[in-house]
C-alpha cells in the first residue's frame, strides 16, 4: 500500500468511528468501537512512523502531508496517549454509569467528540500545509469544548465557556500570524499553494521579509501559546482540566497542549533559518517558559484541588519544555525528550486522580487520605506519577530536566537557571507534601473500593515502568530520532 493511503486512513478512521458512534446506542458497543478504532489507528500510525524513526521522511498528496522526525515523534506520542486514554475511559465511564452519574446518550456524545478530537490533532501533526495545520488546531478547540462538560454542571459549563472563548481568540490570533507569515513570503517565486507549505517556506526562509516574519511569530506564539497553556495565557487551563472527566483531562494535558506547542516549534524552525540562527525566537520561548514556571509554582503551593494541582503542573511542564527549547543546543533535545516523559506521566496522574476522585467522591485534597490503603493500584499510580512529575531520580523526567540544567549552564543562562531551580525546587517540596498527605493517613470515611481490574494494573505498572526504563536507559534509535527532531527545530536540517 502507498504511503498516501496510510495518511488518509489515519484521518479517515476516526471519522468513520464517529459515524459509527452516531448509530450505536449501548455504551459497551460505543466503547468497543472506540477501542477498536484506537488500536487500528495506532497500528496504521506505527506503519507510518517506523520508516521515519529509522531516518526516512514521508511526504504525500502533493506535499500536503509530511512526516519528519519531529512530526513522527509527536504522532507516536499522540497515538500512545490516545490509546491509553480510550482504554481507561471505558473503565472510568463504566463506574460513572453504574453510579447513575451519566446517561447512555452522554456516552454517545462523548464517543463522537472523542473521535473528532483525534482526527483534528492528527491533522495538525501530519500537515505540511500551515493553513491545514491551523484548521486542525481550531477544530481541536471546537471538538473538545463539549468534552469538558460531559457532566453538565454549572462549573463545567463555566470552564467550557472560558475554554471555548479564550482558545478561539487565541487560535484567531494564530491565524493572523499565519497570514502574516504568508505575507512575508510575498514576492518570492513560489506558486499559489506552495507558499503555504512548511517545507517550501523553510527552504525560502532566508529570502522572506524578516520584520514581517518576526511580527508573524509574535502572533503565532501568543495564539498557539494560549492553546499550549503557556502563562500568562493559561487561565482557561486549570478550569478546563479540573472540570473535564479524567480521560479528557488526560488527553488535554497529555497531548493537546503539545499539539499547540508543536505548531510553535514549526515556526521556530523557519525563524531560525531566516535569522541565520540568531536565537531571536528562542529568547522569547525562554521568557514564556520562565513565566509559566513561576506562575505555576505560586499556584501549586497553595492548591486544594487535586486535578487543579495537576493542571498547574501542566503549565509548569510546558514552561519547562518551552524553556528547554529556548536554551537551544542540548536544551532542544532535552525539551523534546521531556515532551514524551511529561505526556505519559501526566496521563497516568490524571487517570489515577480521576479514579481516586470517583472512589472518594471529591477532588479536594483535604478529604483524600490514605489512598495507598484504600485503593493500592491507583494509590501507587497517583503517588508514583507525582514522584515522577516533580523530578525524582531516576524517572525519565528527572533525566530530561537534568539535561535542561546542563543546557542552561552551557549557554551561561544563569538567571534562567536560577529561576528554573527555584521554581522546580519549590514545586518539589510543595507537591511532595500534597502527594504524601494523600498517599498515607487514614481515609475519613473508609468505603469499600472496587477491586482493581487487570487493565488498571497494566495501565499503572506499564506507564511507571516505561518512565523508569527510559530514565535509566535510552535506546540508540530514540536518541538519534530526538537529535534529528532537535535539528529540525533549530533549523539545521
Amino acid at each position: 500500500m502507498l504511503v498516501v493511503h496510510y495518511f488518509w486512513i489515519l484521518l479517515g478512521l476516526p471519522v468513520v468511528a464517529a459515524g459509527l458512534c452516531v448509530l450505536l446506542r449501548a455504551p459497551w458497543a460505543i466503547f468497543t468501537a472506540l477501542i477498536g478504532m484506537a488500536v487500528a489507528e495506532t497500528a496504521v500510525g506505527a506503519l507510518l512512523v517506523q520508516g521515519v524513526f529509522l531516518g526516512a521522511q514521508e511526504s504525500a498528496a502533493w506535499g500536503w502531508f509530511y512526516l519528519d522526525a519531529l512530526s513522527a515523534y509527536h504522532l507516536a506520542i499522540l497515538l500512545l496517549i490516545y490509546l491509553l486514554s480510550t482504554v481507561y475511559a471505558a473503565g472510568y465511564f463504566r463506574h460513572e454509569l453504574a453510579a447513575g452519574l451519566l446517561r447512555p446518550a452522554q456516552i454517545r456524545r462523548f464517543g463522537i467528540l472523542w473521535c473528532g478530537a483525534l482526527a483534528a490533532m492528527a491533522l495538525v501533526i501530519i500537515s505540511n500545509n500551515i493553513g491545514a495545520m491551523w484548521i486542525g488546531m481550531e477544530a481541536t478547540t471546537l471538538m473538545t469544548a463539549f468534552l469538558i462538560c460531559v457532566h453538565r454542571t454549572a462549573a463545567s459549563l463555566e470552564a467550557m465557556w472560558k475554554y471555548l472563548l479564550m482558545c478561539s481568540v487565541g487560535v484567531a490570533c494564530a491565524f493572523m500570524g499565519t497570514l502574516l507569515a504568508v505575507a512575508a513570503a510575498h514576492g518570492l517565486p513560489l506558486s499559489g499553494s506552495d507558499v503555504l507549505l512548511w517545507t517550501q517556506m523553510r527552504a525560502a526562509a532566508t529570502q522572506m521579509n524578516l520584520p514581517l516574519l518576526k511580527l508573524a511569530f509574535l502572533f503565532l506564539l501568543v495564539g498557539y501559546g494560549t492553546k499550549a497553556g503557556l502563562a500568562p495565557m493559561h487561565n482557561w487551563l486549570p478550569d478546563a482540566h479540573s472540570q473535564a472527566p479524567a480521560p479528557v483531562s488526560a488527553l488535554f494535558s497529555g497531548f493537546m497542549l503539545n499539539t499547540a506547542f508543536y505548531c510553535i516549534l514549526r515556526y521556530v524552525a523557519i525563524i531560525e533559518v531566516a535569522t541565520g540562527g540568531s536565537g531571536w525566537s528562542l529568547h522569547l520561548l525562554q521568557v514564556f517558559g520562565l513565566i509559566s514556571i513561576v506562575v505555576a509554582t505560586a499556584f501549586i503551593l497553595f492548591q486544594e484541588d487535586v486535578k487543579r494541582l495537576l493542571a498547574y503542573h501542566s503549565v509548569e511542564h510546558l514552561g519547562i519544555i518551552s524553556l528547554g527549547v529556548g536554551l537551544g543546543g542540548i536544551g532542544v533535545f532535552a525539551a523534546l525528550f521531556h515532551v514524551f516523559n511529561h505526556s505519559l506521566c501526566k496521563t497516568l496522574a490524571f487517570f489515577s486522580a480521576g479514579r481516586i476522585g470517583q472512589i472518594y467522591g471529591t477532588h479536594a485534597m483535604a478529604h483524600i487520605r490514605g489512598t495507598l490503603k484504600a485503593h493500592p493500584v491507583w494509590g501507587i499510580g497517583l503517588f508514583g506519577s507525582f514522584l515522577a512529575l516533580i523530578g525524582v531520580a531516576p524517572f525519565a523526567l528527572f533525566m530530561s530536566e537534568l539535561q535542561i540544567i546542563f543546557a542552561a549552564m552551557d549557554g551561561r543562562a544563569y538567571v534562567a537557571l536560577a529561576l528554573f531551580l527555584a521554581g522546580t525546587g519549590a514545586i518539589f517540596i510543595g507537591a511532595l507534601k500534597h502527594a504524601m498527605a494523600m498517599a498515607w493517613g487514614e481515609p475519613e470515611h473508609p468505603t469499600p473500593a472496587p477491586a482493581a481490574g487487570i487493565t488498571d494494573m497494566i495501565l499503572v505498572a506499564g506507564s511507571l515502568s516505561i518512565l523508569l526504563a527510559v530514565g535509566l536507559w535510552m535506546p540508540e534509535w530514540y536518541r538519534s530520532l530526538l537529535l534529528r527532531a532537535a535539528h529540525i527545530v533549530e533549523g539545521k536540517l
Partner: protein, 212 residues
C-alpha cells in the same frame, strides 16, 4: 473610492457597537458589518478571478449577513434577554477607549506599512481596529452573547486583513476561515443554550466559581 468608503463603514460600525446596549440592535450592526464585508472580494481581487470573488462574496453574505444573525437572534429569544446590563466598562468610556484604539490601529498600520505590506494604511488600520474592538468587547462585556459578537468582529477584522494582504494567494484559506467561523459561532450558540438552561441569565460574571 469604493474600498475606502467600505473601510470607513467598517470602522464606524465597530464604533457603534461600543455604545450600543440593546443586544438585538448590536446583532443587527454586526450583521450589517458582515454584509458590507462581502463586497470586499470584488474590490481587492483581480478581475480575472471574478468567479472566485462572486463565490466568496456570496458565502460571506450568506454566513455573516444572514445565518449568524438568525442563530444569534434565536439564542437571544431563548435566553429571554434584551439588553446588556452593567457592562464592566461604561458606554461613554468605551467610546473614548475606542478612539484611543483607533489611533493605535493607525499607528500600527503605519509601522506595518513601513516594513513592506503593500496595501494602504487605511485598510490595515481598519482591519486592526476591528480586531481591537472585538477583543475589547470580549473583555469588557458580561453577556456571553456580546462576547460572541466581539468574537465575530475580531474575525471580521482578520478576514478583512487576510483578503487585502494575502487574498490573491490561496482561496482555500479564506474558505477555511469562513467555515471555521461558522462552526465556531454555531458551537458558541449551543454553548449559550446550555448555559442559559443552567443559569437564569447568560451573564458571564456568574461564571466565576472557578478560582485559584
Amino acid at each position: 473610492m469604493g474600498l475606502e468608503t467600505l473601510f470607513i463603514f467598517l470602522v464606524l460600525t465597530s464604533l457603534v457597537l461600543l455604545g450600543s446596549s440593546l443586544l438585538h440592535s448590536s446583532i443587527r450592526v454586526v450583521a450589517l458589518q458582515g454584509a458590507a464585508l462581502s463586497f470586499l472580494p470584488f474590490l481587492v481581487m483581480e478581475s480575472s478571478w471574478a468567479g472566485r470573488a462572486v463565490f466568496l462574496a456570496a458565502l460571506t453574505m450568506g454566513l455573516k449577513g444572514i445565518v449568524f444573525p438568525i442563530l444569534l437572534n434565536r439564542s437571544l429569544r431563548e435566553a429571554n434577554l434584551r439588553r446588556e446590563m452593567e457592562p464592566l466598562v461604561g458606554y461613554s468610556l468605551s467610546l473614548a477607549l475606542g478612539i484611543a484604539l483607533l489611533i493605535l490601529a493607525f499607528w500600527l498600520a503605519g509601522r506595518l506599512h513601513g516594513i513592506g505590506v503593500g496595501i494602504s494604511t487605511l485598510s490595515l488600520a481598519s482591519a486592526f481596529f476591528m480586531m481591537f474592538i472585538g477583543l475589547f468587547l470580549i473583555i469588557a462585556r458580561r453577556k456571553a452573547l456580546t462576547q460572541v459578537l466581539g468574537f465575530l468582529v475580531l474575525e471580521n477584522g482578520i478576514y478583512a486583513f487576510g483578503l487585502t494582504v494575502v487574498g490573491h494567494i490561496h482561496w482555500l484559506v479564506e474558505l477555511g476561515v469562513l467555515l471555521d467561523v461558522f462552526v465556531a459561532v454555531f458551537i458558541m450558540g449551543i454553548a449559550i443554550d446550555h448555559i442559559s438552561r443552567e443559569f437564569d441569565h447568560i451573564n458571564v460574571d456568574q461564571l466565576d466559581q472557578l478560582k485559584g
